[in-house]
C-alpha cells in the first residue's frame, strides 16, 4: 500500500487511508499486510514488481497515442489484404451501438436485468438465420475456425465417426486451428484441389469417402475466392456415406449467393467479421454456426442458444437459455465440448448491421463486390506478366493473382506498393510454394473505381520498371 499517498487512486476508491483503516478495523485487522496472511511467506513475492511507473490519464493518452501513431492504417492507405479479415463498409450505427456503455460492460446477467442483452442476441440469431436460411443459429463463437472445428466435432458426435474431409484450399491457419481442436479425437484428411479451377477435386473426394467419414467440409466462397458451384453434388456425396455436409460461408456473400441450405448443407458456419466489425488487427473475428431445427443437431451445440418465451403477461416476450443442460456450464466435462466467454458484442453488432442493410442492402452489396472484384482482376490481368491463377473460376471478393510472369516476388511488389500508399494482397508463396509467386487480392465495396485504377496503374509501373 502506498502509505505516502495523500489521496485515492481514481480507480480504487477505498485506497483513501481513513476508509481503508475503518474497514480494517471493522473486520478486526490492523494492517493491510494481514489480508494476505493465508499465503505462506515462501510463496510471496519478496520484492516490488519491476514495472514502469504509473501514468496519469493524460500521460497515458499521450503515450498510447504516440505508439498508435506509428501504425499505418487501412483508413489512410488503400488496402487489398483479406484472407480471413476483410475491410468492409461499416454503418456508423454499428459503432454507436457496440460502443454503448451498457453493452460494453454487461456480462452474464439474468433475463430480467439483462433483458436487452438477451433480446439483442436472440435477434442476432434470428437475423443470421434468415441470411443463411437455417432455423437455428448459436450465440457467436470465437471465429470461423472455431465454428468449423465445432461443426466438425458436432458431426463426429452425431455420426459416431472420427474423420473429416476438407479441401486443401482451406486457409492453412484455419486448418491449424481445426487440427489442434480436433486432435486427438478426430482426424482431418485433405481433398486435393483442381489445379486449373482451384475448386475441390471431386474425383479425389469420391475416392476418400468411406464409412469412417463424419463430415465433408467445404467453403463458399473458398479461401482463394472461388465460388464453388457444385455444392449440391458435394453434399450428396457426403450424404451418400451418411456423412454430414458442413459449409463454411462468408456471410456477406449471401445477398447474391445461394445459402448452403439450398445445396444440402447440414451445418453452416462462417465469420461475422464482415458484418459490421472493424478489422482491429484481427480482433474483429467472430464465428457462427447454423443448423436446421433438428433435435439431433441442436443438442450437440456447445454454445448457448437463446430462445424466445412467453411471460406472465399476455403478449410480452421473454428470453432464456434453450437446452442449457447440454452445456459444459451445466455438466462440466460431460457437456458438449466447452463454453465460456465468446464474442457476444460482435453478434450484437452483426445483428445491427443486418437490421440496417435489409435484404436489398445485402443484395446490392453482394453485387457491388462481384463487380468491383471482377473489375480489379480484369485490370490486373491486363498487365503484362500478371495473370489470374484460376482464370476460369468465378470468384467473390478475393482472387489469386499470379506474378510469376513478372520476374518479381510478391514481397518486392508489395514493398513498392506500400511506398505508393497501397497494401498489396496477401503473399501466398509460403503457403502454396507450388504456385510460385502468387498473392490473394481482396476487393470489396469500399474500393472506388479510382482506387482500383490506381492499383492497376501502380502495378503496371512496378512490373514494367
Amino acid at each position: 500500500m502506498s502509505e505516502n499517498r495523500t489521496y485515492a487512486h481514481p480507480y480504487i476508491p477505498n485506497t483513501v487511508p481513513e476508509v481503508r483503516q475503518a474497514m480494517l478495523e471493522e473486520i478486526g485487522l490492523e494492517s493491510v499486510e494481514q489480508l494476505h496472511d493465508a499465503i505462506p511467506d515462501s510463496l510471496k513475492l519478496n520484492r516490488e514488481m519491476n514495472l514502469p511507473a504509473a501514468m496519469d490519464e493524460y500521460e497515458l493518452r499521450r503515450h498510447v497515442e504516440g505508439l498508435l501513431a506509428r501504425n499505418l492504417h487501412a483508413g489512410a492507405y488503400v488496402n487489398f489484404l483479406g484472407a480471413g479479415c476483410w475491410q468492409h463498409f461499416i454503418p456508423a450505427i454499428c459503432d454507436e451501438i457496440n460502443q454503448r456503455s451498457e453493452f460494453v460492460t454487461a456480462y452474464a446477467g439474468e433475463p430480467y436485468e439483462d433483458h436487452g442483452r438477451f433480446q439483442t442476441l436472440f435477434e442476432y440469431q434470428s437475423l443470421v438465420a434468415e441470411l443463411v436460411d437455417m432455423d437455428v443459429v448459436n450465440v457467436p463463437t470465437f471465429d470461423w475456425a472455431q465454428a468449423a472445428s465445432t461443426a466438425i466435432r458436432m458431426a463426429g458426435r452425431i455420426t459416431g465417426r472420427s474423420v473429416a474431409l476438407l479441401p486443401k484450399s482451406v486457409d492453412p491457419d484455419k486448418a491449424m486451428i481445426i487440427h489442434n481442436y480436433c486432435t486427438p479425437v478426430m482426424e482431418l484428411r485433405f481433398v486435393e484441389i483442381d489445379a486449373r479451377t482451384g475448386k475441390m477435386d471431386l474425383a479425389d473426394l469420391r475416392a476418400k469417402l468411406s464409412d469412417d467419414i463424419a463430415a465433408v467440409y467445404f467453403e463458399v466462397p473458398s479461401y482463394l475466392g472461388m465460388i464453388e458451384d457444385r455444392g449440391n453434388e458435394i453434399s450428396e456425396l457426403a450424404h451418400s456415406v451418411q456423412a454430414i455436409s458442413i459449409v463454411g460461408v462468408d456471410p456477406i456473400s449471401l445477398g447474391v449467393l445461394e445459402p448452403p441450405s439450398r445445396y444440402g448443407a447440414d451445418i453452416v458456419c462462417g465469420d461475422l467479421q464482415p458484418l459490421g466489425m472493424h478489422m482491429n488487427y484481427g480482433g474483429g473475428q467472430a464465428g457462427f454456426i447454423a443448423t436446421h431445427d433438428d433435435e439431433t443437431f441442436v443438442m450437440e451445440y456447445p454454445s448457448r442458444l437463446f430462445g424466445i418465451v412467453p411471460t406472465e403477461v399476455e403478449g410480452e416476450y421473454g428470453f432464456g437459455d434453450v437446452a442449457y443442460e447440454r452445456t459444459s456450464f451445466a455438466l462440466r466435462e460431460k457437456g458438449k465440448e466447452s463454453v465460456g466467454t465468446q464474442t457476444a458484442l460482435w453478434g450484437i453488432t452483426a445483428g445491427v448491421y443486418l437490421s440496417l442493410m435489409g435484404p436489398h442492402g445485402m443484395h446490392e452489396l453482394g453485387g457491388t463486390i462481384m463487380q468491383k472484384s471482377r473489375y480489379a482482376a480484369k485490370k490486373l490481368a491486363a498487365i503484362p506478366g500478371v495473370s489470374l491463377r484460376f482464370p476460369e473460376s468465378d470468384f467473390f471478393k478475393e482472387f489469386v493473382v499470379d506474378f510469376n510472369g513478372t520476374g518479381l516476388t510478391v514481397a518486392d511488389i508489395n514493398a513498392k506498393l506500400l511506398d505508393a500508399g497501397i497494401f498489396g494482397g496477401k503473399d501466398l508463396s509460403a503457403s502454396y510454394p507450388e504456385w510460385g509467386q502468387c498473392a490473394l487480392y481482396c476487393v470489396t465495396e469500399i474500393h472506388s473505381q479510382a482506387d482500383l485504377d490506381r492499383l492497376a496503374a501502380e502495378m503496371e509501373g512496378i512490373v514494367r520498371a
Binding site: G116, G283, G307, E337, G358, N414, K426
Partner: protein, 502 residues
C-alpha cells in the same frame, strides 16, 4: 420500453442504410453482377431480413441497450468469479482510432510497429506479474486459454513419447467447468477432486489420483470459494513427481497481483483473463482474452506467431514445428491487449498491489457483514477469504422456502446483479459475490442492505421474493418451452413456424 422484436419493425421499402455502389465505369466494364455468378449459385429467394428506416433501427437498439444492466450502471459485485471491475473510460477511448480499428492483421510488420510494441510490452508486464517466461494473447477467453493449455500438455507429452500413456487430467470441483470441459475436448479423462472439510483441495486425494497416466493438473487458487490453498506448492510437486504438467487457472488473479505468482507456486503455465483482472470489459460475453504464459520449457509449444523485439524492430515470429499451431485466427483481440496494457500503465507496480489488497479488503468486509444476515452462511473455513466468497442461503431456504433463484430475481428489482454459482451446487443454495477493488464502502453497504432487505422479506413476506421480479422491464418468463424440441424457438423464423401453424 416494451420493445418489439426487430422483425416486427419491418416495413417493406424502408432502408436502414445504402451501401457503397458500383460506379458506372465498373458496371460498364464487367456487366451486371448476376452475369458474374454461376447460374446455380444465384440466390433465388432474398433473405427475409426486415426493412427498417435508420432512425427506427437506432431507436430499437438504444432502447435494448438501456434494458441491459452493464457494470457501468450498477454496483456490480453480484457476478462473483467474473471480476467485474471498473472499466476505465480512457482505455475505451484509446481503442477508438483508425490507428487501431483499421489495422489489417496481415499488414507488413513495418507498418504496425506501434501495435507490436504494445503486444511486446504487455508480454513483458505479464511475465513480471506471473514469473512465466513467454506469453501469447491469442486465446480469446479463459476457456480458449484452458483449451490451449490442455493442448500444450498433450504436445509436451507427445514430444516425450508419452502422449498415449498419459491420458488423465486432474482438476477440482470448485474450479471453472471449462477446466474439465476443455481437457475433455482434448481427449483427456477427467479426475475431479472434492475439497476437504475446510474447503481446501485435498492433498491426500491428489496423491491417490496421480499415476503414470497423469498428464496434467489444473487448478485455480483461490478457487470460487475465495479460499487460498497454502499448500499449493506441495500439490504441484506431487504432480511433477508423477510426470504431470501443472497449469494454473488464473482467470481471476485479482487478489494476488504483486503478492504471489504462478512461478513460485510451481506451475508450468498459467493464464490471466484480461477481461477480469486486467480491466478489459466483458462486452456482453466477449470478445475476450485469456493471456497465456508458460515457463521456458513450454515456450516451443505455444501457438504462433509470437512478437519478438531485437532492440530496434518488432517482428512476428512463427513458432517451431512442435507448437500446437494456432487456437485463434491471427493474434488475439488486439483492442483488449491495448486496454490491459493501458490499465497496467495507469497503476504501476504499486497500484497493482493496491488492487490486490483492496480487492481482498473489500471482500472480507463484505464477508464480515453478510455473515450477519439472517439465513446466510459461508461454508468451509471460518477464516479470511481472498477476493471472493461462495455463500449459502441453505438456512434461509430451510426456514422460509425462499431459494437462491428467487433471490436472483428479487435482486433485479434493486437494480443489482446476483449470481448463484456454477453447477453442480456443491454449496447448497449458493451465491457468489466478488466486490473487487472498484467499489467503495458505500457501494458495498448498498449491496449488503439489499440482501438484508430481502432476507427480512423472506422471513416476513416470502411471496414478494418468490414472485419477483416486480420492477424489471419484463415479467417472469414461462420457461417451459426451453427444453422441449417441439416448442423451443431459437430464432424468430422458428417462433413464427411453431406458433403460427397453418
Amino acid at each position: 420500453w416494451d420493445e418489439p422484436v426487430v422483425f416486427e419493425l419491418h416495413r417493406p421499402g424502408e432502408r436502414g442504410v445504402i451501401p457503397p455502389r458500383t460506379e458506372a465505369g465498373i458496371a460498364g466494364a464487367v456487366g451486371e453482377s448476376e452475369s458474374l455468378i454461376p447460374a446455380s449459385m444465384r440466390r433465388a429467394e432474398a433473405p427475409k431480413l426486415p426493412e427498417i428506416g435508420q432512425a427506427k433501427v437506432l431507436r430499437h437498439y438504444l432502447r435494448l441497450s438501456q434494458e441491459t444492466l452493464g457494470s457501468d450502471l450498477n454496483v456490480e459485485i453480484g457476478q462473483g468469479t467474473c471480476t467485474m471491475k471498473y472499466i476505465p473510460r480512457i482505455n475505451e477511448m484509446l481503442i477508438r482510432t483508425p490507428h487501431m480499428m483499421e489495422l489489417h492483421p496481415l499488414q507488413d510488420t513495418g507498418t504496425v510497429q506501434g501495435m507490436l510494441e504494445i503486444f511486446h510490452k504487455l508480454d513483458l508486464a505479464m511475465r513480471e506479474i506471473s514469473g512465466m517466461d513467454a506469453f501469447t494473447f491469442q486465446p480469446s477467453s479463459g476457456t480458449q486459454a484452458l483449451l490451449a493449455m490442455a493442448s500444450i500438455v498433450r504436445a509436451y507429452h507427445d514430444s516425450r513419447g508419452e502422449g498415449d500413456q498419459r491420458d488423465e487430467i486432474i482438476t477440482t470441483i470448485f474450479s471453472h467447468p471449462s477446466q474439465a470441459a476443455t481437457a475433455a475436448v482434448k481427449g483427456y479423462k477427467i479426475i475431479t477432486l472434492h475439497p476437504d472439510e475446510d474447503g481446501f483441495p485435498d492433498l491426500e486425494k491428489l496423491k491417490q489420483a496421480v499415476s503414470p497416466r497423469t498428464a496434467g493438473f489444473v487448478v485455480a487458487n483461490p478457487e470460487d470459494t475465495g479460499i487460498y490453498n497454502p499448500r499449493i506448492r506441495e500439490f504441484t510437486d506431487v504432480v511433477h513427481a508423477a510426470g504431470g504438467v501443472c497449469y494454473y487457472d488464473q482467470a481471476n488473479a485479482n487478489g494476488l497481483l504483486g503478492i504471489t505468482r504462478a512461478k513460485e507456486a510451481g506451475f508450468d503455465m498459467c493464464f490471466f483473463n484480461l477481461h477480469k483482472t486486467f480491466a478489459a470489459p466483458h462486452m456482453c460475453g466477449g470478445p475476450a482474452t485469456g493471456a497465456l504464459g508458460v515457463a521456458e520449457p513450454f515456450k516451443r509449444f505455444l501457438p504462433g506467431p509470437l512478437v519478438t523485439f531485437d532492440g530496434s524492430r518488432y517482428e512476428l515470429q512463427g513458432q517451431p514445428h512442435e507448437s500446437i499451431g494456432k487456437v485463434r485466427s491471427f493474434y488475439g483481440v488486439a483492442q483488449t491487449v491495448l486496454r490491459s496494457y493501458a490499465w497496467i500503465m495507469s497503476l504501476g507496480a504499486e497500484g497493482l498491489k493496491d488492487v490486490a489488497r483492496i480487492a481482498v479488503l473489500n471482500n472480507n468486509y463484505l464477508y464480515h457483514k453478510i455473515l450477519r444476515i439472517r439465513g446466510a452462511s459461508a461454508p468451509y473455513i471460518k477464516g479470511r477469504r481472498l477476493e471472493q466468497v461462495r455463500y449459502s442461503w441453505q438456512r434461509l431456504t430451510e426456514e422460509t422456502g425462499v431459494t437462491t433463484e428467487d433471490i436472483t430475481r428479487r435482486m433485479c428489482d434493486f437494480g443489482l446483479h446476483y449470481w448463484t454459482s456454477h453447477h453442480p451446487y456443491i454449496v447448497p443454495q449458493p451465491f457468489t459475490l466478488e466486490p473487487t477493488e472498484s467499489y467503495s464502502k458505500e457501494d458495498l453497504d448498498e449491496y449488503i442492505q439489499a440482501l438484508e432487505h430481502i432476507s427480512n422479506e423472506a422471513y416476513t413476506n416470502p411471496d414478494i421474493v418468490k414472485s419477483a421480479p416486480h420492477n424489471s422491464t419484463v415479467h417472469r418468463n414461462d420457461e417451459s418451452s426451453l427444453d422441449d424440441p417441439k416448442t423451443w424457438c431459437i430464432t424468430w423464423r422458428s417462433y413464427l413456424k411453431k406458433t403460427q401453424p397453418n
